[in-house]
């Protein structure tokens, strides 16, 4: 291991990671709390939360996430008698930490030249970015299982078991849906995948439309939100976080938002051309190009989040056997077939 990294690079990388986790992650997660309330309200002919005010200023209820945060921070942090205290405390950290780490590995931008120096706008640029993100997302299920197991509650344990079964089923689909696309790109690196789409002038969604649908479905399942919210199952068992209160519970809620952001980021990078804007040669535009890259990526991500949110408020929850059937019997064979067909076509083409 060498420590010959210039201080500039360390500072720049820290700034990028902070931007990804705090600037993008926490801001969008807080914003999503508002979007969730308002979007569901408007599409159900309601008004939605509009009461939280600071000095009488309400701005369409935008202060509600702040009120939420204050509420969660000041509530009693209760640990039940039968719980295993260390694991009980560790579980939300694992869940949220994994989702946060994934955020830092997304390609918010390519490389830009500013004042004669090359800057890579991806916070954590690794040649194994895609499997790393998928693995870290899958690791997040440990938090769910740990939470249910350590709470000492049967409902929590039920939720955790559901969570484990669901996450394993859909993580497999998540990876296998990407297989064909990554085979075409010939790389496991996010930034190179984006560059492939830029140089070929075609987005991944055009190349692999089926993989897009499969990945979106599996991704929605991995975020544990409503059509797939069986681990939580608010109306039947309260789920793996039944014994959590205060900010620990808030961390589980935020994990769902963070995972949605990560899934949308991965889809943006691999299927929607990442940071690219059609018709603009962003890498050669200097600082402006970098600015546009990051904004383009985030706008695409937000549009996807909007779609996921709409799906969440449109579809009812699956039954558990339907959920596993969808995962193992439909998505997985389809994605494997998709991969085989892709490999065949690529082989014939060459």
């Amino acid at each position: 291991m060498t420590f010959a990294i210039p201080l500039n690079d360390v500072l720049f990388t820290t700034a990028k990671v902070l931007f990804a986790v705090v600037g993008v992650g926490l801001n969008i997660a807080g914003f999503l709390g508002w979007v969730e309330r308002k979007q569901s309200a408007v599409l159900q002919d309601r008004i939605g939360a509009n009461r939280a005010s600071i000095f009488g200023i309400k701005i369409l209820g935008l202060f509600h996430p702040i009120a939420d945060a204050i509420k969660m921070l000041t509530k009693e942090d209760f640990v039940p008698k039968g719980a295993m205290k260390p694991l009980h405390g560790l579980a939300p950290m694992i869940s949220l930490g994994c989702a946060m780490f994934c955020l830092a590995a997304l390609p918010y931008g390519g490389t830009v030249v500013v004042a004669g120096r090359l800057y890579d706008l991806q916070p954590i640029a690794l040649p194994m970015g895609v499997p790393l993100v998928l693995a870290t997302l899958a690791f997040g299920v440990h938090g769910v299982v740990m939470a249910g197991y350590a709470s000492g509650s049967n409902y929590g344990l039920l939720g955790a078991l559901r969570g484990a079964a669901q996450m394993i089923a859909y993580e497999v689909c998540l990876a296998s849906a990407l297989a064909g696309l990554l085979f075409i790109y010939g790389t496991l690196d996010f930034s190179e995948a984006v560059l492939w789409q830029v140089t070929h002038g075609v987005w991944g969604i055009v190349v692999q439309p089926l993989a897009f649908i499969l990945f979106l479905t599996a991704g929605a399942a991995v975020t544990k939100r409503t059509p797939f919210d069986l681990p939580e199952g608010e109306s039947e068992i309260v789920g793996y976080h039944v014994e959590y209160s205060g900010m620990k519970f808030g961390m589980f809620l935020m994990t769902d938002f963070f995972e949605s952001i990560v899934i949308c980021g991965v889809i943006t990078a691999l299927f929607l051309g990442g940071w690219s804007i059609p018709g603009l040669d962003l890498p050669s535009m200097g600082p402006l190009g970098g600015f546009l890259m990051v904004n383009s990526f985030i706008v695409k991500m937000l549009l996807l989040l909007f779609l996921l949110m709409q799906l969440r408020w449109t579809l009812p929850r699956f039954r558990f056997d339907q959920l596993l059937d969808l995962g193992w019997k439909n998505l997985l064979p389809l994605s494997l077939l998709n991969f085989l067909a892709t490999a065949w076509v690529v082989y014939l083409w060459r």
Partner: protein, 188 residues
């Protein structure tokens, strides 16, 4: 009237419904239509353009008055005869039929010999009332109605939920009692 039998066809599970994507899309079309139509109506209202329906059916209750149905059962009201005496003859039918046992009547001799009896006290504990309206149905002399159009009946103590006869007749405004009002149980 002849009984009409309407046969509801069981929806066929075609391939299109089984792959579910089409159905998801149709569901999304509905929710997206609502979302964008309502957003348009909200923004028209914000811009001050008239002539569009409201974007939400919400009644912002404490600011806007509650909208009650014409036949809504609200707070009870005791009625008077033309000469100003309460119509109630203390027959205790309402007290008997009340499923929540929230009516308490004591009777006394009435000066009017055609009536014979009248209520000395007539208390309704609105904290126990289930607003079923049986008392109104049971009353043979039409002395009690549930049409005061008043639904904001909360108070700081259970005792204040009990309305007595002058209050129900409308002779005396209902005032919170000074005893037991806003008493902090934690303070000695």
């Amino acid at each position: 009237m002849a009984i009409k039998v309407r046969v509801v066809e069981r929806p066929e599970r075609t391939f299109a419904t089984q792959i579910y994507l089409l159905e998801v899309w149709r569901g999304l079309a509905i929710t997206f239509r609502h979302l964008f139509v309502n957003l348009f109506r909200h923004s028209m209202k914000a811009l001050g353009v008239k002539g569009f329906l409201p974007g939400a059916v919400t009644i912002q209750y404490p600011e806007d008055p509650a909208v009650l149905g014409k036949r809504a059962r609200t707070r009870h009201r005791l009625l008077k005869r033309d000469d100003g005496a309460p119509r109630c003859t203390a027959c205790l039918l309402c007290e008997t039929i009340c499923p929540a046992k929230c009516i308490r009547i004591t009777a006394e001799n009435a000066p009017d010999v055609t009536v014979e009896k009248r209520a000395k006290t007539f208390d309704i504990d609105l904290g126990m009332c289930v607003f079923c309206g049986y008392c109104v149905e049971a009353c043979p002399v039409d002395a009690i109605h549930m049409d005061a159009n008043e639904v904001e009946l909360s108070s700081y103590s259970r005792k204040d939920m009990i309305w007595n006869m002058p209050e129900l007749l409308g002779d005396v405004p209902k005032l919170p009692s000074q005893v037991g009002r806003a008493v902090d149980p934690l303070k000695p």
